[in-house]
Every structure is written in structure tokens, then in C-alpha cells.
Amino acid sequence: MGVAQLANPTRFLSISGKILPWFWVVTAILIAGGLYFAFPGSPPDAEMGEVVRLMYVHPPAAWLAMLCYAAMAVAALGTLIWRHPLADVAQKAAAPIGAAFTFLGLVTGMLWGQPTWGTWWVWDGRLTSFLVLFLMYLGLIAIWMTASDQGRAARIVSILTLVGAVNIPIIHFSVEWWSTLHQPAGVLEGQTDAAFLPPMFLMLGGYTTLFVSLLLTRMRTEILGRRLRTLQMQAAGAGA
């Protein structure tokens, strides 16, 4: 089963309809487990106290914001190079989800910054490039809302998405290039105590499956919505 065969929207609808409930179940289990370990199941931090529990919502949101953009960039290549019909749908479905995760990342980061850094916001490299990511998501959504022809909108969005992909490595390396306030990622390098890791990884997995579930649901809705529009046009044509 290759990507080319999934290009048939009917086949996509039948396959995604079968696997989607399982994704929701896995999401619920992972997030429920993550919430258990995040509150009664893990200790407060020696320095930060209870505030450390923001670690279970902030990095996963930021990670998903970037993963979603990377997925959109791949779908943009699918639109421009292979004219893959589902790539258009995937891009349109992913943009608001990515914007929501970026918003979550910004808000949880600000809530974390206030007690630990003493300020809601600093203009350091990581925070600024992440805010730019949010602006780019809003710009892409604006194009989807403006263009009347969805196929043309998909090609325009693809070009802008690929140009904006420069920002993803900038966000990733910003903490190393400009070492200001935001700390570098330390989870995979073993700088995080083992007691904090189970809720962290459960939430990371839960967020990721939540993203896949939301994306598939929105893609199915979009395909059905387009079919409905076609049927309405045909009905209007037949009535006239």
C-alpha cells in the first residue's frame, strides 16, 4: 500500500475511518496516563517546585507546532511536485491545528516564564522565532480563507509554506546560536532527572496521536465538505 494508492479519496476515507477510532483511544490512554504521572505520580522540582509540571504541557506543544509545520512542508512538496490531491486537503486541515499548538506553546511558555524568569516575555531568539511561526500560521490560514479556488489556494500556500520552512531550523538552533534566557533542550541528552521523564514522554506521545487524530478528522470533514459542495452544485444545475 503506497502513498499513491492513498491518493484515492474514497480509499482514504475507508482506511482512515477504520483506524481513526483507535487513534482516539490511544490518545485518551496516553493523555490520561500522562496526567496521572504529571500530578500525583511525579515529585515537585527542587528549584522550581510545582511549576515544573508545566514541563509536561509546554515542550510537547512546542514540538507539535514544529512537527505540524514540517508535515505541512512535506504536503506542500506533494502538492507542487506530485499534484497529490490529498496533500491539498492535508495542508488545509493542518494549518489551524498547528496554529493552535503554537498558541498553546506560547501561552504555556509565558505562564512558565513569569514565576521562573520573572517576566512574561523576553525578545530572545527562541521566543521571537516561535512568535514568527505563529504569524506564519495565521498568514497561511488567511490565504485559505481568502482564495475562492481551493486548488489555486493550495499552490499559493505551498510556496509560502516552503519559503517559511527556513524558520524551523532557526527555531531549533536558536537556543544554541543566541544563548540568552531560554534553556537548551536537555531531555534527550539525559540532563533531565528520570523522575520527570514518564509524564513527559506520555504527554509527548499523547499530543502526537492527538495531532494525527485531529488531522485525520479534519481531512475527512474537508473531503466530505467538498463532495457536499459538488452535489449541491449539481443539484442547483439540475434544477435550473
Binding site: G139, A142, I143, T146, A147, I156
Partner: protein, 222 residues
């Protein structure tokens, strides 16, 4: 090459004729510079410190003016189709339009910057730095804005949307342009590193602007 320079010259000429709007950008730039002291107060020390930032933001906003019409007028009267039939690659056409647009809108800003600096109490070394960084940076702003102008051909919309789409991509140029100026005026960091990054960003936009702009115009083909 003669076709390339013909497009540059045509874009410049049309911008300066009636209905163009090249000098509107310059007047807008002046207006921004005049309005800010009313907002922050006429404290000359403060103004000399934030002066480069005011000039840069004014130049950025002035550059965005008219971008939505850059290709739309040519599309509406068929000129764009004729240009594409000329045998010149679409990327070269986009680059020529961008250069013409910069000569008509960006270059006047650079020339005016030393004069406007006087309103903001910037010292002579700072005036040199602001003018030099604007000379290097505004082509980058125009070329990135060209992508937005080309996207408007496909979207058949204009106005605020082009500014919303283009502004996030211009932030790096703004950051390094202003930090190079501040290195001269406030110190103590050296001027050269941010200035060289600014040069790199402009060179980068010379590649990405024509390529992405041409792709956007092709995307509008049905």
C-alpha cells in the same frame, strides 16, 4: 539582457508617472518619522537612541506600499503575458520587476535617510551606519516583498493581506539592520558581524525572491 534592462526601465518609468506612486512611499516614510516623536515625546536623547529603529520601521512599511499592485496591473492589461512570451525566464522577469520597484521606491528612502536622521538627532557616524544598512537592507525587503506581490496575482486580492504575509519574513533583516546601527550608536558590540549577516540575508533574498515569485505566478495559471 536588453529585455531585462527594458523591464527595469519600464517599471521605474511607470512608477514615477501619474498613477505610479513611487514618491508616495517617500512621503509615507517622512510621515512615519514625524509621527513617532509625537508618540514617544520629543526627548532628543531617546530619539537618537531609537532613531535607527524608527527609520528602519518606516522604510519597511514604505516598502510594503504598492507591492500588491506590482504584478496585478501587468496581469490585468496583459503585459505579464507578453513579458512571459518574450523568451526571458520568468525568474529574470520577476527580478527585473523587483529591481525596478526598488529603484523607484527603495532608493529614494536610502537617499532621504540622512536628511530624516537629522529630525531624530542621530550623530554623523550613526547617519552613515543607517544609510549604509538601509542601502544594503532595502533590496532584501523589496525582494521578499516581491514574493507577496506575486502571490497577490494568484489570489486576485490586495490590500492588507500582502503586508500580513510578508512582514514575518522581513523580521530577520530588520533585526540585523537595527543591531548593526545600534552597534555604532550605542555600542559596545562591533558593527561588522550583524552587518555581514545583513549582507548575507539580502543575497539570500536575491535567490529566494525571484524563484518563489516566479513559482507563485505560475501557480496562478489555470
Amino acid at each position: 539582457m536588453s529585455a531585462f534592462f527594458a523591464i527595469v526601465a519600464q517599471t521605474v518609468t511607470l512608477s514615477f508617472r501619474i498613477g505610479g506612486g513611487a514618491l508616495v512611499g517617500l512621503i509615507f516614510f517622512l510621515s512615519v518619522v514625524i509621527v513617532v516623536p509625537f508618540g514617544v515625546g520629543p526627548d532628543l536623547n531617546l530619539l537618537s537612541r531609537i532613531g535607527p529603529a524608527i527609520l528602519w520601521i518606516g522604510a519597511l512599511l514604505a516598502t510594503l506600499l504598492g507591492l500588491d499592485r506590482l504584478f496585478q496591473d501587468d496581469r490585468d492589461d496583459g503585459t505579464l503575458d507578453q513579458l512571459r512570451l518574450s523568451g526571458l525566464p520568468l525568474e529574470a522577469i520577476v527580478l527585473a520587476k523587483a529591481i525596478g520597484h526598488w529603484i523607484a521606491t527603495g532608493l529614494p528612502l536610502v537617499v532621504a535617510a540622512p536628511v530624516f536622521s537629522l529630525f531624530l538627532n542621530i550623530d554623523p557616524a550613526g547617519i552613515g551606519a543607517v544609510t549604509l544598512t538601509l542601502l544594503i537592507g532595502t533590496p532584501g525587503l523589496t525582494l521578499i516583498g516581491t514574493i507577496g506581490g506575486a502571490l497577490m496575482v494568484a489570489l486576485r486580492r490586495g490590500g492588507m493581506l500582502v503586508a500580513v504575509l510578508v512582514l514575518p519574513f522581513t523580521i530577520p533583516i530588520l533585526i540585523f539592520g537595527v543591531s548593526a546601527d545600534n552597534a555604532v550608536i550605542v555600542g559596545p558590540q562591533p558593527f561588522t558581524p550583524p552587518f555581514l549577516i545583513l549582507c548575507a540575508l539580502t543575497l539570500f533574498s536575491f535567490v529566494i525572491g525571484p524563484v518563489a515569485g516566479a513559482a507563485a505566478i505560475r501557480a496562478s495559471d489555470d
